[in-house]
């Protein structure tokens, strides 16, 4: 048992912290207010190697482990969760899925530019009538011999407009239920794709969220990942890892809000003393700190299991569930500690509270995580 990070892990954490505290912080409020995509930051983070940080160097990635990824996600999310979700989707859903299950040709063509961060990827699972329920896909990929014909609509897609490569989950054999689902690599510029307007969201406002419509889009057969009908398993395996990214993002929102609260409580005075010296505040901070630390341990445990090649689905569901709930609770308390200042944009915590809400919803709601956890716990498969 060892709780020490390696020198490299610490260096990555520091690099992410430096970037976040020096660069992301500068325009985070403005980007949130006006829903501006963080183009400059995505480019800079790509140059630093964050956009494909776990992809093998063989495919132009950085070859870092999942623990480093958690550390980096936490640091970036302390300042700007909108930017970190772009990174998370590209890394743990898109790059991971292609690297783990794709063919050498698919990796050569699609993974390389994604790992370098020159292109962004998007993961298209959610549908208007099926959020986290991957089994009831309405989008169809009709088998036409040499190609698939893709029809349907995907909703709430992160990187929906900016992505150049889509991973689309669609039903090929409705009669086979979830065993008939496929996953296809689709070029964003293929004829028949239209992207809906930018979603005007409550939080994560600087990330690029759209619905995507497919009308008779032709996808070559060689763009299918895995065997025919592998799509559902692909989605489940990929989301297992994706949860770690979102869990780490939620952790960053919570720990960032805690850091701001501690600083504020030591500066702000009421009744002649710093509010940190009032027990009501001090105990609240203690409670927040314990939860943040718990969330961090769950995230790191899941990441460690993944790095060891051990099953991590149960651990990543726990991490995602607990970190998201903690993010909501801690950011809400942070606003409370900041009082009136907490309710205005300048103090950051109100944005963190709005952003935190989404971590309970996307990449598997808290309730879905509870299902995953309880099924495993009760041996109900």
């Amino acid at each position: 048992m060892n709780f020490e990070f390696t020198g490299e892990q610490l260096m990555i954490q520091q690099a992410a912290r430096d970037y976040a505290q020096r660069e992301l912080i500068q325009d985070v409020i403005e980007r949130d207010t006006h829903s501006i995509y963080p183009e400059r930051h995505v480019k800079a983070l790509a140059e630093l190697g964050f956009m494909g940080m776990m992809v093998s160097p063989e495919y132009d990635g950085s070859g870092m482990d999942t623990v480093s990824y958690v550390l980096a996600m936490e640091e970036l999310s302390k300042v700007d969760a909108s930017t970190s979700v772009i990174m998370s989707v590209n890394n743990s859903l898109v790059c991971y899925g292609i690297e783990e299950f794709g063919t050498a040709e698919q990796k050569e063509k699609y993974l390389r530019p994604l790992a370098r961060g020159e292109k962004m990827g998007a993961f298209l699972l959610s549908e208007p009538e099926a959020g986290s329920d991957a089994t009831s896909q309405k989008t169809t990929a009709e088998d036409k011999g040499d190609y698939y014909l893709l029809n349907g609509t995907k909703n709430w897609i992160t990187n929906g407009n900016t992505a150049k490569t889509y991973l689309v989950i669609a039903q090929t054999h409705p009669e086979k239920g979830h065993r008939g689902i496929n996953v296809l690599l689709v070029d964003r510029n293929s004829p028949g794709i239209s992207v809906g307007p930018h979603e005007d969201k409550m939080g994560m406002r600087s990330s690029d969220t759209h619905s995507v419509m497919f009308t008779d889009v032709i996808v070559p057969k060689e763009n299918r990942i895995g065997e025919d009908g592998f799509g559902f398993k692909f989605a489940m395996k990929t989301l297992e890892g994706g949860r770690i990214g979102i869990a780490a993002q939620a952790l960053g929102l919570a720990s960032g809000a805690l850091e701001r609260s501690v600083k504020y409580a030591l500066e702000r005075k009421t009744f002649g003393k710093e509010i940190a010296k009032h027990q009501a505040i001090a105990f609240k901070l203690a409670e927040m700190a314990v939860k943040v630390e718990n969330a961090r341990h769950l995230c790191l445990k899941a990441a460690w299991l993944k790095d060891q090649g051990k099953p991590y689905g149960y651990a990543s569901a726990m991490a995602k569930y607990y970190a998201a709930e903690t993010a909501m609770e801690v950011t809400t308390q942070a606003v409370q500690i900041h009082g009136g200042y907490g309710y205005v944009k300048e103090y950051h915590v109100e944005r963190m509270m709005r952003d935190a809400k989404l971590t309970q919803i996307y990449e598997g709601t808290s309730e879905i995580q509870q299902i995953v956890i309880s099924r495993e716990l009760l041996h109900l498969h």
Binding site: Q14, A15, G49, F50, S62
Partner: protein, 247 residues
């Protein structure tokens, strides 16, 4: 051109400083360590020049025990080619400079760059002392460095303005803010390549100190701030004159 950048391992500049009982030593437990900010700017400029093709090799050197190695690795990850750690616990600026000078006697270099001061002991000493010990010329208060046809073009701050000079090589530059603006963040590629970059450890010279710190204390607290009504700024002028006696 081969450049040596001297780096110092210092507590993060936001660290709250605590002391060991007796107030003769700083308590470094829990401290986050960083590259001294001025040294980091010096390194950043050296890396920029290397990327521009005018510098061939960057070597970072520090005088410290093994616990400073994360800082050295960070310098390598940021873009330095090699590192030297002089294995010693420096006892004062003189001793630091002496250790650097002894180690550099065996190295080939054209230019040595030092930050103007370190954020821990604020001695403003090591660069000038090192130049004198190495018997090489130095330029201080350097705010920019270009290399043209293997010749350093240096801007230094002088009273009321600036001056452009060149220096005979090998030489030493003592640099301040302006030499670079934003320190380099190491990329993952850099972090990976730092694994295999050479880090040489050389034995230090024993510690003779010319200066000794005998006591530390916290700076006196400011008395509380008097808030003046923004509608009554005459009061501010009045207080600055009669109470503070500064105008």
């Amino acid at each position: 051109m081969n450049i040596i950048v001297c780096i110092s391992n210092v507590p993060d500049t936001t660290t709250r400083i605590k002391y060991k009982p007796g107030n003769k030593d700083v308590d470094y437990t829990g401290v986050q360590w960083i590259i001294n900010p001025w040294d980091e700017l010096a390194l950043t400029r050296a890396i920029e020049l290397k990327e521009a093709g005018t510098v061939k090799k960057i070597t970072v050197i520090t005088v410290a025990k093994a616990d400073a190695e994360p800082t050295i690795r960070k310098a390598l990850a940021s873009g330095a080619d090699e590192a030297i750690r002089v294995d010693a616990s420096p006892v004062d600026a003189w001793n630091t400079a002496l250790n650097l000078a002894e180690a550099l006697k065996n190295e080939q270099f054209d230019l040595v760059i030092c930050g103007v001061e370190s954020s821990d002991y604020n001695n403003w000493s090591v660069g000038g002392m090192l130049a004198e010990m190495l018997r090489i010329p130095s330029v201080s208060a350097v705010t920019s460095l270009q290399i043209e046809n293997s010749k350093p073009i240096i801007t230094r701050e002088v009273d009321g303005g600036r001056q452009q000079v060149s220096i005979k090589l090998p030489g030493l530059l003592i640099v301040q803010k302006g030499i670079a603006i934003v320190p380099r963040i190491p990329s993952m590629r850099g972090i990976m390549s730092a694994r295999t970059k050479p880090l040489k450890v050389v034995t230090g010279v024993s510690g003779e100190s010319l200066i000794e710190i005998v006591d530390y204390e916290a700076p006196p607290q400011k008395s509380s701030c008097k808030i003046i009504d923004s509608e009554n700024l005459e009061m501010l002028a009045e207080l600055l004159h009669t109470e503070a006696r500064v105008i």
